[in-house]
Symmetry: C2
Subunit: 344 residues, 2 copies
DNA sequence: GGATGTCTTGGTAACGTTACCATAGCGAGC
DNA sequence: GCTCGCTATGGTAACGTTACCAAGACATCC
């Protein structure tokens, strides 16, 4: 085993041709399906391919005019977050169904990094871009910069940019989640807001307000914590619970906030607080084992993978055939659903 | 806005050259750093680049001999799982630090899909491969198939394949987790096994057995459920709890099993079971809010992102400079740690 | 048998880029 | 003034691939 054959560089079509005793064109034709190539030659070619471990050089292939690269550029803010992981998975699946691959970049929410990634993707001749925007300037996404490469935005839209967008039904989900608390008899409902994404944060807040308004309840600014300055969701929850007239329920606009809130609630219960003093919780974003929590938790559930699939489908429809699909920008809102909540 | 400029195809270096009134070579040199190009021409070139929105065609660039593609192929089993999402993030980060990008494919654990992805990656001239193997034949990973493209395996190793591997310290983690239960006075410790990955499953089982052996406890086959035939972790937990002499603690070999076990425990508590009748749990794989669970949960915590970073570093070290790093295969085991456990 | 058509094969050029070579300009040194 | 050396610029070829064209082989049909 030791000192075995040196790794060889990838063989070219020329070498395969030589090995099979035919011209490169015959190899090319065979690999393209074998039309108008004698079966015996095809076999010779295919066994040469197997023997040498040959793979067509896709980069060289995509160089030829009219040949697409088969790459989709995907830039998301945090791959480690299961939400975006599933989103990327959805994009990957749909891309794979058409034989395409994704080049993936993590922006970490940094606009500079996003610009860099987009430039790199364009250099790699991606056929399209799927992007979870990081905020900041959107100059690098203007049509004259992207040329003929279509773009789909996800989770967040950029005003003034006329491109396809996929979003969750943030407003509807927050509305229905809040309404569920109101229907259960709660009238003092805290709002735990969104630091990470102002756009979805604003939309979810809108849903919360709409539900309150519908029941004629005036929003109480003491109960609404959506500032960036808040140290953590746990701390914010503590502030809500320490109010003179604390909320009996909390609407939490995202996963991170929900986890923080539950941690704080857990701390207080361990310190001797009575369970019926603790608020019920509605969480935008699902999380596991919600049913085992010490307070009733309702989740606004959604499917980020489906969101990714939808984004990819929008993108692919813009690639279509030769002539670009020229329809105007579309906005897709994916439905969310309330998971059955234990009564408060 | 409507009927605005048609999207143009990506400009070429030739068009930039024409626009700037120089030759393509001067453009190329300018973009390569500008050595031996008059400053005034450089400026002309750069403004033509900006004006046309030009990006170098990396595919064409990588066609030239000696030029690397800057792509790393990454194939994982399930991007939606935060474990693999974070793993991929780690690989992406390290790749990005050297200006490389990752092409990502999801195998879904399907060996055929894995073969297909690897072939595609090779066709795209990736500089290296990072793979979470799906099992099945490994013919497509033999050195003569990969040529000069280095491979790093993660989470699972393939015997007979002499390549770099990164693993968690599965044995040690399971050993220490089980030992913690023994130290807390448990003697009947159930084992909830791994369906998804036989390799890590076997290693974790080994750690469990080692801990028992060290304390002179004979493993009881009634307490050990690691068959594929088990319907679900919840059902398996039910079987353990329904034993005449049920375990007072359970070691669960992965996240999925832990969640299933906790769901079953939750069901029984809601049906009136007494909390002190329920087993303590040690879970290999962290999960959020473990501290809020109705039974004491200790987790064997680890950092999949770091695992990904390590995998990428091993890979990059094989790329090094011109001549391939020829050292023999390395095996890296990433440390895990026990999260502080509430006493049982 | 000759014209016509179909099938098979190979040569050539081009995709976008840059290493290499050639050339021109210019200042320094004798 | 002539060479030498250096800088700046451009032309050419090649990377691996395949569309297109040309040409040969062979069968078909009148």
């Amino acid at each position: 085993m030791v000192g075995g054959a040196r790794p060889r560089k990838q063989p070219t079509i020329k070498e395969v041709a030589q090995h099979a005793g035919v011209s490169p064109m015959t190899v090319s034709r065979t690999l393209a399906g074998g039309a108008n190539v004698r079966p015996d030659l095809q076999e010779k070619v295919l066994s040469a391919v197997r023997e040498l471990g040959y793979h067509r050089n896709e980069n060289a292939r995509s160089l030829r005019p009219g040949q697409a690269s088969g790459l989709i550029g995907v830039a998301i803010t945090n791959l480690g977050n299961p939400y975006y992981g599933n989103f990327a998975l959805g994009v990957e699946e749909v891309a794979a169904e058409t034989g395409r691959r994704i080049v993936l970049g993590n922006t970490g929410g940094d606009p500079a990094r996003e610009r860099q990634l987009v430039a790199d993707f364009l250099g790699r001749q991606v056929e399209g871009l799927v992007l979870v925007p990081s905020g900041g300037s959107s100059d690098h996404l203007r049509p004259e910069r992207l040329g003929d490469v279509p773009l789909v935005l996800a989770s967040r839209r950029i005003y003034g940019l006329d491109v396809d967008v996929v979003l969750l039904d943030d407003v509807g989900g927050a509305y229905r989640g809040t309404l569920a608390l109101l229907d259960a008899g709660h009238t003092r409902i805290g709002y735990l807001g969104n630091v990470s994404s102002e756009f979805t944060g604003a939309r979810r807040y809108e849903g919360y307000l709409r539900a309150l308004a519908e029941r004629g309840i005036e929003p109480d600014s003491d109960l609404i914590l959506r500032e960036h300055a808040i140290g953590s969701a746990g701390e914010a929850t503590g502030r809500l619970l320490d109010l003179e007239d604390p909320p009996t329920a909390i609407f939490s606009a995202n996963n991170r906030n929900s986890i923080g809130a539950l941690r704080e609630i857990g701390r207080r219960l361990r310190s001797g607080a009575r369970p019926d003093e603790m608020p019920a919780l509605v969480s935008f974003d699902d999380f596991e084992l919600a049913e085992l929590m010490p307070v009733p938790v309702t989740v606004v559930d959604h499917d980020p993978r489906q969101l990714g699939r939808e984004a990819a489908k929008l993108l692919l429809s813009r690639l279509g055939n030769g002539e670009r699909h020229q329809g105007s920008a579309r906005l897709v809102e994916m439905p969310v659903k309330l998971a059955p909540a234990p009564s408060p």
